[in-house]
Symmetry: C2
Subunit: 230 residues, 2 copies
């Protein structure tokens, strides 16, 4: 039957989390299906009357208990027609960045286990999910340099050294602490709070806060965020 389209459409969620100066991805161990016992990205089939973005947020919540309001579309994987051995499945991948230090994850109805995996310690995943994660990491690295998305990975109030470590860790580069601070502060979208962080050692450091309003005002005026390194 030539005209009947036998294709299913799914969504997959890449949730990046940051804690203890490391980048993580949220993975689940599936309960059902041929990929049982493999770790995989949270995700599943889209319902007929449901938008793609609703679908991915729903699946993520059902499988990991993580409740987001927005995810950004990454890419649609539909060139390998055997990426799922059971049926032709096209997957629209979405990603989000969260502060993993205070987020409760728990395996829910559809997943056996839920766990954060360090970005450099991701096991062999179900379907083409290793490929999807790889392309999400590439996107994250790219965006980090020209959009202020790093703040999404940190708590509301953070140290400059945390921000600096985040950039070093994710981009795998050395940066000059003093020039980095100077540059970011010169943009004027960080507010200095009156709080100090619980000290580890050395001089006590003020906590900063990303001011999204100020950032949006700057964007209106044609401002363009950019962090480059040597």
């Amino acid at each position: 039957m030539e005209n009947f389209q036998n294709i299913r459409i799914a969504v997959d969620a890449i949730v990046f989390g940051y804690k203890n100066n490391n980048l993580y991805v949220l993975l689940i161990e599936q309960k059902f299906g041929s990929a049982e016992k493999y770790w995989a990205l949270p995700g599943g089939l889209v319902k007929s009357e449901e938008s793609l973005s609703d679908a991915v947020i729903r699946e993520l919540h059902e499988e990991t208990n993580v409740q987001l309001t927005f995810m950004e579309q990454l890419y649609t994987f539909g060139d390998d027609i055997k990426r799922d051995s059971r049926n032709r499945v096209i997957s629209v991948a979405y990603y989000a960045l969260v502060d993993a230090s205070n987020l409760e994850i728990k395996a829910d109805t559809d997943a056996e286990k839920v766990q954060w995996f360090k970005i450099d310690g991701i096991p062999s995943l179900a379907f083409d999910h290793n490929l999807i994660v790889k392309s999400a990491i590439a996107r994250l690295k790219g965006k980090l340099t020209y959009e202020p998305i790093g703040f999404d990975l940190l708590p509301d109030e953070f140290l400059f050294s945390d921000l600096e470590n985040l950039y070093c860790t994710i981009l795998e580069k050395e940066i000059d602490r003093r020039n980095f601070r100077k540059k970011i502060l010169s943009y004027g979208f960080l507010d200095q709070t009156e709080h100090f962080s619980p000290i580890k050692s050395g001089r006590p450091a003020k906590l900063f806060r990303f001011n999204k309003l100020k950032y949006n005002e700057l964007i209106e005026k044609g401002f363009h965020f950019e962090i480059k390194f040597a």
Copy 2:
């Protein structure tokens, strides 16, 4: 029936063309369907055993006679579940850049007419295609500044003034001719040919050619293309 997924998957092609110092998009007038007599993007349903990228290249060829080997994925439109009034259809949009000055387009089996439309004179299109075109233009503008894709819109051999006009036209900005030339030449991926272009007026100008090999070598070494303006 809760589990049955009643969603169709389509592909749409945004083909940008450049000629006479203007940017164009290729549109068709549809023969069939509820959107008859509306102009629309070339595209159609994906076959069950066909990759997404094959599908969009096939549809484009069938409808416009334009034969491409590669299109880049733009975005998947699937949030408006009524974007097609007949059925739930999710569309994966792809785009490509071509030199429109020597490309033969012709309406084929599936289309009534095929025509280049100037970017600032696009009519009201079928479905959500105006939205798709808008987002493709935004992507093109963005990419133009950090990837050397402008050359795809020009003939193999081109004048510096053509390249300059292309940037001015698409980005809608004034640029300094001399600084622009200096910067692009400093990258070292343009070869000067021995040919001169048929002269309009003024001093005869040498034709240049984009050397993709040299560009790739530079990329290997960590080079990063970028064109910024005041």
